[in-house]
Amino acid sequence: MSIRTQVLLWTAQRLSAAVLALCVVVHLVTMIYAVRHGLSAADILGRTRGNYAWLIFYATFVAAVAVHAPIGVRTIVGETFGLRGAFVDVALVVLGAALALWGGRAVLAVFAPL
């Protein structure tokens, strides 16, 4: 992997961390609001379905996770288990794609019925 790519990965992880910091706070506040106001699943879906603001918010959240997590895991497996190289990088691209896929599916599920 080129030095430029390594630097881009590092930068992407920092930027995605900043996005996640905001998204996690909004998500936690949303959950606390839903619990404290006794919202049922149907109530929640009634507010999220067809709501483009929630679609954009959670799509952004999922995208940030899909970028952030694999880069962090790449560092962790390298430092903890000594696993480095192209095999690890490919596996983590797959992990990022899987997170994006699963997360995207969940976002669509709360925006519109599949």
Binding site: Q6, V7, L8
Partner: protein
């Protein structure tokens, strides 16, 4: 103090020299007298597969850890290997692990580190052990070279001297980082070096940071490429142990953060 061998003689000499310098009413004799107790010292012996050997060393006031090691080598076991040169905190050769923390032993007073009058002295972490307290410093200094820690200028001796104002921002950055003595304490204390053997480490990156801020230097583009990425400044987790333990009170962490900014600017400009 004659029974303390060379170290005792050194203390006697030091006390005589102090008498010449200090006012006559200074209570030198009680301050310099040996304390009525001994120090239990466990010292690493052998190479990587060695073990700790215990010694009893007379406890003295104003005694440094290097004094302790020297006493053992001169009076108890002449085969003990260790390094030192200047004994005044300039050369950077006497760093060892003292009770689990890397320190410059010539300037580390026993009174500040010995808990229950015991010391455990071992070679620096993160470096191959040659014998006893002597580590192979080659990997440490090789990384200075990998980080392009050599100055590259464009001027010749026929040119005028470069004028670098003392209060310029870049000169201030250099001043804050330039006093490194290459002791290896930061490198030995760094978790990331332990986890990622390719990591250049705090000292090499600190050196690169001084050159990045040297307005006379002409090799910054390749230097920034050399210090970027998984083995460079981007591997630092900002644990700040290097800055906490640097005996010269340098903050390599700050320099590493500066390198990250410089690399980002270079990447944006397409110079990386």
């Amino acid at each position: 103090m004659g029974d303390l061998g060379d170290l005792g003689q050194q203390y006697e000499l030091a006390s005589k020299m102090a008498i010449l310098k200090e006012p006559v009413d200074t209570p030198l004799a009680p301050r310099l007298a040996p304390l009525p107790r001994t120090l239990t010292v466990r010292v690493w012996r052998g190479a990587e597969n060695g073990g700790l050997q215990q010694f009893e060393v007379p406890r003295l006031e104003n005694q440094t850890v290097l004094d302790v090691v020297t006493y053992i080598q001169r009076n108890l076991d002449a085969t003990l290997s260790y390094r030192y040169a200047c004994r005044v905190g300039m050369c950077g050769s006497c760093a060892m692990s003292v009770n689990g923390k890397a320190r410059w032993t010539c300037r580390t007073h026993v009174a500040n580190v010995a808990t229950d009058d015991t010391l455990e002295i071992a070679p620096l972490n993160n470096l191959p052990v040659i014998k006893d307290l002597v580590t192979d410093m080659a990997p440490f200094f090789d990384k200075w070279a990998q980080a392009k820690g050599q100055f590259k200028g464009a001027r010749t001796r026929a040119d005028e001297f470069a004028r670098v104002l003392p209060d310029s921002p870049q000169r201030k950055e250099v001043d804050a980082a330039i006093e490194c003595i290459g002791c290896g304490v930061c490198y030995s204390s760094c978790d990331v070096v332990a986890w990622n053997p390719a990591y250049l480490g705090p000292a090499a990156l600190n050196r690169a940071w001084t050159l990045v801020n040297d307005v006379r230097d002409t090799a910054n583009a390749p230097r920034l490429a050399a210090v970027a990425g998984d083995a460079g400044c981007h591997a630092c987790h900002t644990h700040v142990t290097c800055s906490e333990r640097c005996p010269k009170h340098i903050a390599p962490t700050a320099g590493i953060a500066g390198l990250k900014r410089a690399v980002a600017v270079a990447a944006i400009k397409g110079e990386l």
